[in-house]
């Protein structure tokens, strides 16, 4: 009875939650009070510049690192103390997979299949063939792209409820990237797999993510559904005479050579643009890539 209750509890739990995570390396803050929640069934694209702390946040959320403060939870369990039941529902692909380099892909799959009750051996073998990866070759001897694809197959073959991919497309060619994105979309759509993937390739995020989170300077500057980006964020342009009136709550601000000012602003709770009442103000809608550049630049 307890097992059934426990199973139901895990099944209905939130796949990933980060509460007030703070972390720094060599006294340089990387994450500053980051809150992030990943609802079941969502596909969250975590974007940010190189070194923004995406990998660190992911690793903390999975319990692979201990944050200096804050807490992370996976399926409502503390990330640093996951039970086997939760672990079997999670698959993680690091940015540069380096584990088990002394095994071949077939050996690695044979070994790992013993730990995952839902392991899909046919999928693993067929995908290896489809992606033309030498199954008998040592993982260390594969190219970085092949190695990453083997790890992605490994993650998908375990049929996880939560799939976490850290820069999965970093070493992949365009064809492999498309296939991966298709696979993610299929998994999320058909099996309801929750996916968190980090990337700085914004077009990939736009293609498959249902939600997007933007990590910048240690802060999560935006976290919203993908299809509301254009409605929620805009670039506010102000003439030189009004440049000093840039709203305080803007996400970024810059001055033009002619003295004009521009800023990224978010609609307030009433659906109004901050600064809309300033004379000469102009609003431009922004795509995700423009938004990324405007904030990060």
């Amino acid at each position: 009875m307890n097992t059934v209750l426990r199973h139901n509890k895990i099944a209905s739990a939130t796949p990933l939650v980060a509460n007030q995570i703070c972390h720094s390396f060599d006294a340089r803050p990387i994450l500053n009070r980051v809150d992030l929640s990943l609802p079941a069934g969502s596909v969250l694209g975590l974007i940010g510049r190189n070194g923004a702390g995406k990998s660190t946040l992911i690793r903390i959320m999975l319990g692979l690192m201990q944050p200096q403060s804050g807490a992370a939870f996976a399926f409502d369990e503390p990330a640093l103390k996951l039970t086997d039941a939760v672990k079997s529902r999670i698959a993680y692909v690091p940015q540069q997979p380096d584990a088990l380099a002394w095994l071949s892909a077939v050996q690695m799959f044979e070994f790992l299949s013993r730990f995952y009750p839902k392991w899909d051996n046919d999928f693993a073998n067929q995908t290896l063939q489809r992606w033309q990866i030498d199954a008998g070759k040592l993982l260390a001897k594969l190219s970085p792209g092949e190695r990453q694809r083997v790890d992605i197959i490994r993650a998908l073959a375990s049929q996880p409820d939560l799939l976490v991919l850290d820069e999965p497309a970093a070493a992949l060619d365009p064809v492999a990237r498309r296939e991966l994105l298709r696979e993610i979309a299929t998994r999320a759509g058909d099996a309801g797999t929750t996916v968190l993937f980090s990337s700085h390739i914004v077009s990939d995020v736009e293609r498959v993510a249902s939600d997007v989170a933007f990590l910048h300077n240690g802060h999560l500057v935006l976290n919203c559904p993908m299809d509301t980006i254009r409605e929620r964020y805009a670039r506010l342009w102000l003439p030189a005479s009004q440049a000093a009136s840039v709203p305080k709550e803007s996400l970024s601000r810059r001055r033009g050579k002619d003295g004009s000012a521009s800023a990224v602003v978010e609609r307030d709770a009433n659906g109004r643009w901050p600064g809309a009442d300033i004379s000469g103000a102009r609003f431009d809608t922004l795509g995700l890539e423009d938004l990324f550049v405007e904030i990060a630049e």
Partner: protein, 495 residues
């Protein structure tokens, strides 16, 4: 102008640190050579050639191989003028250190061909030592140490005798062939400094010996595996690797020599380790043969073979400890290696259980292998009929290596490693004690109490007690650190 530039090029190719070391080395060597000249009868051309040979070795071993590396780097970076200058510099040094002295000594009555061959052989062997892999370099060192014994054993004519060129010429050609082959391999395959095939000069230049285990080369493992031939690869055995046997799984995920391997794979790996040790045993036998030319084979085998086995056991245990420490250090400093996989792998047990499994998985194999070595070494010591004190000292050297392995293993996985200076100091102190406890009994007369007549034995006992306390403190501290961690597979530096 170009002459001085080419002359200074090998010096320019060195790092500042290497230059400082070389200055210290040359200062000491200069004093040594001066003293040698003062006390030896250096009037004959043979003595002068031998002195020049030593001086040449001091240039061709530590200085000029770097110029060859410069030529290689320039070749790979497509900088033909730098590559050309590096080669020109080497030719200039060859002319100045080999051709010119041979001609000058020839004019003053020496045998030009013999002098040139001697100096060319010295330069070739020196370069070969620096430019080939560590395995060949060790063979060259053994060969150099056995020089006198080999001369006696094989009846080789020396510099002043007529048949000198008959063995010196092919040996010289072979050494330079090795240098040429090494350079070609390096240029073609761009061998990483961490690879076992990397030349000594590359390892020293890149500090690969230091950073190998430090996590500075996160992908060092992959690079090494990639550069190994198929016959050198480990043969993992996946049988019984699963949730039913978590310790075996942890060993598989950590890789290296202690992971579960097939019987054939294990034999092959053992052969790869034992083969070089046989060279060492052969080296000791040749040495004994040289020391006792008329001794019986039984005596020679006993004094050479058994002592060689004891030394091999001692070296083996120490090397095993340091290699193992390096592997664990690397694993606990590489976030993308096996730790992330182990941390999220279901079936390794809850936190308490996984800590226990990890402890056993990292300690049992290394202690098992070292215990085996301890048995072999003690059996050899008893066969040699050494005194009880000697047997205890030899056993202590092995137990010291085991203590290091256990203490540092816990310190690494518990995230309580000491600062580098402390590790280095303790390692040097430990190695010194191990070597004293290993060599003193084997080099003393059988049955005699080593260090007996002096109060050195008490001092040694005290030093061992200090080391044991330090190791116990490090081990317990590491073990407590492991217990305090939220889970067993957290990498170091992540908290």
């Amino acid at each position: 102008m170009k002459f001085w530039y080419l002359l200074g090029l090998p010096w320019q190719a060195l790092s500042t640190r290497a230059r400082l070391w070389l200055v210290a080395f040359y200062t000491l060597l200069g004093f040594g050579l001066l003293l040698g000249f003062s006390f030896a009868n250096a009037t004959s051309w043979i003595s002068k050639t031998n002195f020049l040979l030593m001086a040449n070795l001091s240039i061709w071993v530590p200085l000029l191989p770097n110029t060859l590396v410069l030529a290689r780097d320039a070749h790979l970076l497509r900088l033909p003028s730098v590559e050309r200058e590096a080669w020109q510099s080497l030719w200039l040094f060859a002319a100045l250190t080999i051709a010119m002295p041979a001609i000058l000594l020839g004019i003053s009555g020496g045998h030009v061909l013999a002098i040139a061959l001697t100096l060319l052989l010295g330069a070739g062997v020196g370069m070969a030592y620096a430019c080939t892999s560590i395995y060949l370099a060790l063979l060259i060192v053994f060969g150099a140490i056995l020089n006198d014994h080999l001369f006696k054993l094989l009846g080789l004519p020396d510099l002043s005798q007529p048949g000198f060129a008959l063995w010196a010429a092919p040996t010289t050609a072979l050494s330079w062939l090795l240098v040429w082959r090494s350079w070609r391999n390096n240029v073609r395959h761009n061998i990483a400094a961490t690879s076992p095939r990397a030349p000594m000069v590359m390892k020293l230049r890149s500090h690969a010996w230091k950073s190998y285990g430090s996590g500075a080369h996160e992908n060092a493992e992959t690079t090494i595996l990639r550069q190994r031939s198929d016959w050198q690869q480990l043969r993992p055995n996946l049988n019984a690797c699963g949730p039913v046997n978590p310790q075996r799984c942890i060993r598989l995920a950590l890789g290296g020599w202690f992971m579960p391997q097939t019987a054939i794979g294990r034999l092959r790996q053992s052969a790869l380790i034992i083969a070089p040790s046989l060279v060492f045993v052969a080296f000791m036998l040749v040495r004994s043969l040289g020391n006792h030319p008329n001794g019986s084979w039984a005596k020679i085998l006993q004094s050479g073979g058994l002592i060689a086995l004891i030394w091999f056991g001692g070296f083996g245990a120490t090397m095993l400890t340091f290699v193992y420490m390096g592997r664990l250090w690397r694993a606990w400093h590489s976030p993308n290696a096996g730790l992330a996989l182990l941390a999220l792998l279901p079936g390794l047990g809850a936190n308490e259980r996984s800590r226990h499994n990890l402890s056993r998985a990292i300690i049992a194999p290394v202690v098992g292998a070292q215990s085996l070595l301890l048995v072999v070494v003690l059996a050899c010591a008893i066969s040699l009929k050494l005194s009880v004190t000697s047997d205890l000292m030899i056993a202590l050297s092995q137990l010291g290596a085991i203590g290091f392995a256990v203490a540092f293993a816990f310190a690494i996985v518990g995230g309580r490693m000491l600062p580098t200076w402390a590790i280095m100091s303790l390692s040097i102190f430990g190695c010194m004690l191990i070597n004293i406890s290993l060599f003193t009994p084997t080099l003393s007369d059988p049955g005699a109490i080593p260090l007996g007549p002096t109060n050195m034995l008490s001092l040694l006992e005290f030093a061992w007690a200090v080391l044991a306390l330090a190791l116990i403190w490090i081990g317990v501290r590491g073990w407590c650190g492991l217990q305090a961690r939220p889970h067993a597979f957290l990498p170091t530096g992540s908290t």
